[in-house]
């Protein structure tokens, strides 16, 4: 059966792509660990990672840089997977959890927590959150609530994938109006805390936050790996999906909810970081094809690589100052995305 052999060779090639991404991620992470205002050589970085190294190095690497890089990996992987899955279930290349109102919902939640007294900014410009967990909780609830409203509608009224995306646009608009309203009544110290919160920042995640994000990601990642055939079926249209025995309406609801869930967890902890959920899956589709067996792990790796790289650039480009990583992802992301779109259209 020569064709079957060809197909297996084709699958092995994707494994190679995964390996290259993984090694790049390792390399960028090591580079990121070693660079910064306090320089640590790669050799010493390795020593610290394997339990050695001097006290200062250990403090900087394990206490500050490593949690930040792990956060970058977890957030990037979550966004990559969430984007890939939503694009499949909603059959819309623009779909990400952010199109379901997650980012605007989170912004509203965080703003509400701040105006209720969870934080303000000091005159020095430094932001002080006297109750960071309230902000995280409110941001999470705001983020997930937009999706819950849309999915409740979809369940009751049998919304099509197109209608779900449009409902997401409407919810985003509603939440941004609510945010504006909250900001209008905030004092200037609270206002600057809100604005500061809206800059995504991976430094907010410590080991505890990373542990929560890792658990959420692992659960959702495994779930989607198990559902990979259903995702493949979904891309062919509802009728074909049903014909091969997929309960497509249910899978779409659960898949959308879980994508929104992991995104909401990450957004609550580190704020809104755009474009990773679009670029990671689309670049992998172009390079490795649309089979979700490989697309899910590859999107996770690509998302992680993208975000860790962007964050390293954000830390180093105007060192010792650190730019918000969201600015870098959007700066690099917007033109890359347009390039990908043009390339994809050309393939039709």
């Amino acid at each position: 059966m020569p064709m079957v052999m060809d197909y297996k060779a084709y699958l092995r090639r994707k494994l190679l792509i995964g390996l290259v991404l993984f090694l790049s991620l390792l390399a960028v992470s090591l580079l990121s660990l070693s660079s910064g205002p306090y320089h640590v050589s790669v050799k010493e970085v390795l020593a610290v990672l394997f339990g050695g190294g001097n006290r200062d190095d250990r403090l900087v690497l394990l206490g500050i840089r490593l949690p930040r890089i792990v956060a970058g990996i977890l957030v990037g992987a979550s966004m990559g997977v969430a984007g890939a899955v939503l694009q499949g279930y909603l059959r819309n290349p623009l779909a990400t959890p952010f199109t379901m109102g997650v980012s605007h919902g989170a912004m509203f939640g965080a703003s509400l927590a701040i105006i209720l007294g969870a934080g303000y900014s000091l005159n020095s410009g430094q932001v002080f959150l006297n109750n960071p967990y309230a902000v995280v909780l409110f941001a999470f609830l705001g983020a997930i609530s937009a999706t819950l409203v849309i999915l409740a509608l979809a369940r009751l009224r049998g919304l099509s994938p197109e209608a779900i995306v449009l409902a997401g646009v409407a919810m985003s608009s509603l939440y941004s109006a609510l945010t504006t309203l909250v900001q209008y009544f905030a004092n200037e110290l609270q206002l600057s805390a809100m604005v500061y919160w809206s800059f995504g920042n991976l430094a907010r995640a410590t080991w505890r936050e990373n542990a929560i994000m890792a658990i959420a990601f692992a659960f959702v990642f495994v779930y989607f790996l198990i559902k990979r055939w259903d995702l493949n079926a979904s891309t062919l249209g509802d009728e074909i999906a049903k014909s091969v025995g997929v309960n497509i309406e249910r899978e779409r609801l659960v898949g959308t909810l879980l994508s929104a869930f992991i995104t909401s967890v990450t957004v609550a902890f580190v704020g809104v970081i755009g474009f990773v959920g679009l670029i990671a899956p689309h670049s992998m589709r172009l390079i490795a094809g649309g089979d979700y067996r490989s697309l899910i792990p590859l999107s996770a790796l690509a998302g992680a690589l993208l975000l860790v790289s962007a964050d390293t650039i954000a830390r180093l480009i105007v060192s010792p100052m650190t730019l918000p990583v969201g600015v870098i992802t959007s700066f690099l992301g917007a033109p890359t995305f347009i390039y990908l779109l043009v390339k994809m259209e050309g393939r039709r």
């Binding site: 064709m3 079957v4 493949n232």
Partner: protein, 246 residues
């Protein structure tokens, strides 16, 4: 094998199917014919379990009683059009094996896919993405996927749509062969002459009702006048009836 007992269906207020009775047994090749909006595709979707309609029985068991996976081992449906995407042709046809496999396809699954690709003579396209092939080729991929399900009942909505003359003949011959192997094959058709040449039984529909049902003997010029509102002459070429609008 598959049966509709007094099946009706409405999209909201609009009634599209009324009191349809139809029984198709093993080895039958049935063409469903009729003008646009007659309810042919709706009937096929009811029979496929895509639309929830009361009164559809598969092997004497109500279709709603089947778990989705079990149903898709018995019955495969080919919609009017498939969505092109980033999956390979092989990967798309492999989806037909989903009802049979756990998390990874077995050797047998892969071999069935190869066989299905061969039957539709699209083995050269195996590693192409479905957004890189033509509409007709995509249609064949969709049919190959249905074959990979190894169904006992095959429902196809305008399977010859988008196909060139040669491919139309290939697909119709394949459908006839599958029926000879004992499968029940139902196709919605627009090309009356193609249907007459290959199918053995004809169901004519209009305004959601069945107007006629039977072999070549049901054909008459009056029937075409009634169903399509067109005056035709029925001739014969090499023993096959040919309908010519005049």
């Amino acid at each position: 094998m598959i049966e509709a007992r007094n099946v009706g269906f409405s999209y909201g207020e609009r009634e599209v199917l009324r009191g349809i009775n139809l029984e198709v047994g093993e080895g039958e090749f049935v063409a469903i014919l009729g003008p646009n909006g007659a309810g042919k595709s709706t009937l096929l979707r009811c029979l496929a379990g895509i639309l929830k309609c009361n009164g559809v029985f598969v092997k004497d068991r109500p279709i709603g009683d089947y778990p989705p996976r079990e149903l898709s081992k018995v019955l495969a449906y080919v919609p009017q059009r498939a969505e092109p995407g980033f999956l390979t042709v092989f990967g798309t046809v492999l989806l037909g094996r989903r009802p049979y496999m756990g998390l990874t396809p077995s050797e047998r699954d892969l071999n069935v896919v190869e066989e299905a690709l061969r039957k539709l003579s699209i083995e050269k396209l195996a590693l192409k993405r479905t957004n890189e092939i033509s509409g007709g080729e995509l249609q064949k991929v969709s049919i190959a996927r249905a074959l990979a399900q190894e169904p006992e009942i095959l429902l196809m909505d305008e399977p010859t749509n988008n196909l060139d003359l040669k491919s139309q003949l290939e697909v119709m011959r394949l459908a006839r062969e599958l029926a000879k192997e004992g499968k029940a094959v139902l196709t919605v058709m627009h090309d009356v002459n193609l249907a007459l040449r290959f199918a053995k039984r004809f169901v004519f529909m209009k305004n959601g009702r069945k107007i006629a049902d039977g072999g070549l003997e049901v054909l008459s010029e009056e029937l075409f006048k009634e169903v399509y509102g067109v005056k035709v002459e029925i001739g014969e070429i090499r023993g096959v009836p040919v309908v010519m609008p005049i």
